[in-house]
Amino acid sequence: MHESGEHVTCREVVELASDYLERALPADEATLFEQHLNFCDGCLWYLEQIRATVETVGRIREEDVPPETRDKLLTAFRDWKRS
């Protein structure tokens, strides 16, 4: 996917950022990715933005079960217990 085996471009780096955080990049790609981050502040900040995105999404509160659903399911559970 790279124009060269020696380096990756910023345009390529943004496509690898999530996989890098997932630790899912093959070792040679991870090396090129880190070499690029070592000289490119733009991509360093981009990676931090993806990290911040994951953190922000992680702070979204899990949804509450609506009371009607809860009641219906508990009734079903009691019926199931009796059967």
Binding site: C40, C43, T56, K72
Partner: protein, 216 residues
Amino acid sequence: MTRAAAHERRATAEELELLGLLRAGDERAFEELVTEYYGTMIAVALTYVRTRAVAEEVVQEAWLGVLKGLDRFEGRSSLKTWVLRILVNIAKTRGTREARSVPFASLAPEGDEPAVDPERFRGPGDGFPGHWRSYPANWHALPEDVVHGQETLRVALRAIERLPPAQRTVIVMRDIQGCEPEEVCEVLEVSEGNQRVLLHRARSRVRQALEEHLDA
């Protein structure tokens, strides 16, 4: 299934204990499980059906299916995966009836979807092709309460709601509910690679929404 068998997860000791409580009719254990899985179940249901109301019905129907099968569950998969698989089957049936069946293959990421607008990178005729024209902002330089504020959270939530269904399901499962990648693959029947692409695209789109909000 596309994933490697080695990734199959069996029910954990904790899950088997919970299973025992459910079979013994422990209402509290049941309620806790309903609460814990609710967000994931709604998100997964919405992969296959169009409306929130139908997704809600699918979740309820899935729990009835779980109760029916509880005595036969052997713990060969994790409890969560088993519950979600029941849900997916019901959701698919409902989706077909709604004429919005999402066939197996279409959960795979489609086409080309750049994480960042290609215009933001220098073109082949420029010096340093592929390099940023101008750098994205350093969010660490923003005041804490902007990045961590309620408004930013709302922007993220709205961006997730607007995602294509498969991307939305994967980001909800992974980054909100904290599911393992393997669980996503098993439940949605997507390969590990496709799971990562869907997550990558979802995160990229949410990042873009946050950037538009924070740069404004």
